[in-house]
């Protein structure tokens, strides 16, 4: 574009290059450099401070031999699986409901989306309170006369993940709904007319015509939700602090605790590298589908 000032190619377009320095620094030093640094030091036995004592895959062996890490992985898989499915289903159903040319659409959308403006800390603390067995839902239902009613997800190691899930879905489904709604609005009205002329019932139109047409929206949403799931941290800290015991630990919390509290940097680096690997597993196929097939995505 700007081709003024021919003599030296380095100084051509100088202002733009200066403007891009923060980006270049962030991309190269923080993102690439930081990632490589962490991956490299995950092969050392750094404790309080990073040091270059190479131990091969020792940290990874220890990691996968640690009960707490395995619990964390199991939790994130369960949470991730249900979070993905419920986010997409609830988000889509809500969007479809709001797309019925209803009145007060803005009011409903505002109500469904406001949790997304709140932090995970606030979300976690509210649901910690609502799910409190002594005062919350359990106590209320018992007060209505069902004395044996038990619903204490935050105090039961077996189901604590679902307690997190309830809070996480409350916070995030409004966002998914907005993405889906944008997708639905992008669909040609004529499709609906054609389906109606052919006498196809509404639910069938959604399931077999609209949803397949919204594939790109679903994929984008999926990637966004998945990236968020891997980062799950604040919610757990606020809602359960990883408890009861270690029942609701998640990988991001494992990393933080080992890096900044357990003074076992090597473990933290290895764990965070595993998180990176899991993201790459999601990201690479997506990037390939999205940008590999056609030029200039």
């Amino acid at each position: 574009m700007a081709t003024i000032g021919k003599p030296n190619s380095l100084f051509r377009n100088m202002s733009a290059k200066i403007a891009a320095i923060p980006m270049i620094f962030t991309a190269l030093v923080v993102f690439v450099g930081g990632t490589l640094w962490t991956v490299t030091y995950s092969f050392t036995n750094s404790k309080l401070l990073p040091r270059e004592k190479w131990v091969g895959f020792d940290q990874y062996e220890r990691l996968w031999g640690t009960n707490r890490w395995n619990v964390a992985i199991e939790n994130i898989l369960i949470y991730g699986f249900f979070s993905l499915i419920f986010s997409l289903v609830i988000g889509f159903v809500l969007a479809a409901l709001l797309d019925q040319k209803i009145r007060f659409e803005d009011a409903f959308r505002t109500i469904l989306l406001y949790p997304f403006a709140l932090s995970f800390i606030v979300t976690g603390l509210v649901w910690q309170w609502i799910l409190n067995p002594e005062f919350g839902i359990q106590s209320m239902v018992r007060g209505l006369g069902w004395e044996s009613f038990t619903f204490d997800p935050l105090y039961n190691p077996e189901i604590v993940v679902y307690g997190l899930l309830i809070a996480g879905l409350w916070q995030g489904t409004g966002f998914v709904m907005c993405l889906m709604l944008a997708g639905l609005r992008g669909i040609d009205e004529d499709i609906w007319k054609a389906a109606r002329v052919d006498g196809i019932p509404m639910w069938k139109t959604y399931l077999f015509i609209i949803i397949p047409m919204m594939r790109p929206v679903f994929i984008t949403t999926l990637v966004i939700i998945a990236a968020g799931i891997v980062k799950l941290y604040d919610l757990v800290v606020a809602q359960t602090s990883g408890g009861p015991g270690i029942a609701s630990e998640v990988p991001a919390k494992y990393v933080y605790d080992y890096m900044f509290q357990g003074q076992n940097l090597g473990q933290g680096f290895a764990a965070s590298t595993m998180m990176l690997v899991s993201v790459l597993i999601v990201l690479i196929p997506w990037a390939y589908l999205e940008f590999g097939g056609r030029k200039n995505g």
Binding site: S15, A20, M23, V39, S119, V122, V126, G174, Y233
Partner: protein, 303 residues
């Protein structure tokens, strides 16, 4: 599904027309469902407010969904001014002002840098720019945990680890991918003729940015501000990693107040503190309305 066909029938009508029967079966089901769902989403907000207005004896007796018999604002006062966070007992006010001090410069600096950068990427493309941009966007997907410690080292070398300045830099860096994307896409959508005309008139990089691009793109700046204010205010991880207890942001302090196990739990104070922390992003949300939706949807826009 008898009502389903009815439903499709109405879609064919021009938008804005009132359905003939307001209380048709379809409408009752549709609005009934929506109202129940809306109530579910509002429930936690209601419980927060109600709990924060009760005294502790009332909380111990009643259930959390009951409205307060006797309204008291004491929990709010205590949460703001005297609640204890382990070390000090000056309530959330400290965290609030810390968060203000963190959020304002972070929002301004990150948007300034990202907008100029997005402008350079859109209108002044140079060799290699796209490579860096691609790295930047992919970097947004890297879990922060991977870059936490290298960032600690970087800040420590610069002598600003554990300071507000350090945290502002961290927010600027990690906000860059989404903001740059936002601004680049926006500036790309501005007709190129405008840019070319200014070039012919002899305007340079900065004067085009300041005199043409900036005035034309105020909406996108508002969107970016909404995105950043809520994002930075709600941040917990960076606050806890890169600051010290004295300058912890509000979210970290809130968590410390509620989850520190000392003495009797004062649920009303906890809920008052929780609302107070959520108040800033909620205000931004309710004021900004549709722009907020645009802001968060920007994250979903492909580059």
């Amino acid at each position: 599904m008898a009502d389903a066909t009815l439903n499709v029938g109405q879609l064919g009508e021009p938008s804005g027309t009132k359905p003939k029967r307001t209380f048709s079966r379809r409408n009752i089901i549709l609005y009934g469902t929506l109202i129940v769902i809306a109530m579910y989403y509002l429930l936690p907000l209601y419980v927060m407010v109600v709990t924060s207005l009760k005294g502790m004896p009332e909380i111990r007796l009643g259930n959390i969904f009951a409205p307060p018999v006797e309204i008291t604002f004491e929990p709010w006062a205590k949460a703001w001014a005297t609640a204890c966070t382990g070390l000090n007992c000056d309530g959330l006010s400290r965290g609030f002002w810390n968060s203000v001090q963190i959020t304002i410069p972070s929002v301004i600096i990150s948007i300034a840098i990202a907008s100029v950068n997005g402008y350079a990427l859109a209108n002044w493309r140079f060799k290699g720019a796209d490579v860096f941009f691609t790295i930047l966007i992919f970097g947004a997907f890297i879990p922060y945990q991977v870059m936490l410690y290298p960032m600690v080292i970087l800040l420590r070398e610069m002598g600003i680890y554990g300071t507000l300045t350090g945290l502002v830099i961290v927010h600027t860096i990690f906000g860059m991918p989404i903001l740059t994307l936002l601004f680049r896409n926006y500036f790309t959508s501005i007709p190129e003729e405008l840019f070319k005309a200014a070039r012919v008139d002899g305007a340079g990089f900065w004067s085009i940015y300041l005199k043409i691009m900036l005035p034309m793109s105020l909406p996108i700046f508002v969107v970016a501000m909404i995105l950043q204010i809520t994002g930075i205010w709600n941040d917990f991880l960076f606050g806890v990693v890169y600051t010290k207890p004295d300058i912890y942001p509000m979210t970290v302090q809130l968590n410390n107040i509620v989850n520190s196990v000392q003495g009797v739990k004062e649920y009303n104070v906890n809920m008052a503190a929780t609302i107070l922390t959520g108040l800033v992003p909620l205000t931004v949300y309710f004021i900004s309305g549709k722009l907020f939706v645009r802001g968060i949807a920007a994250g979903a826009v492909k580059g």
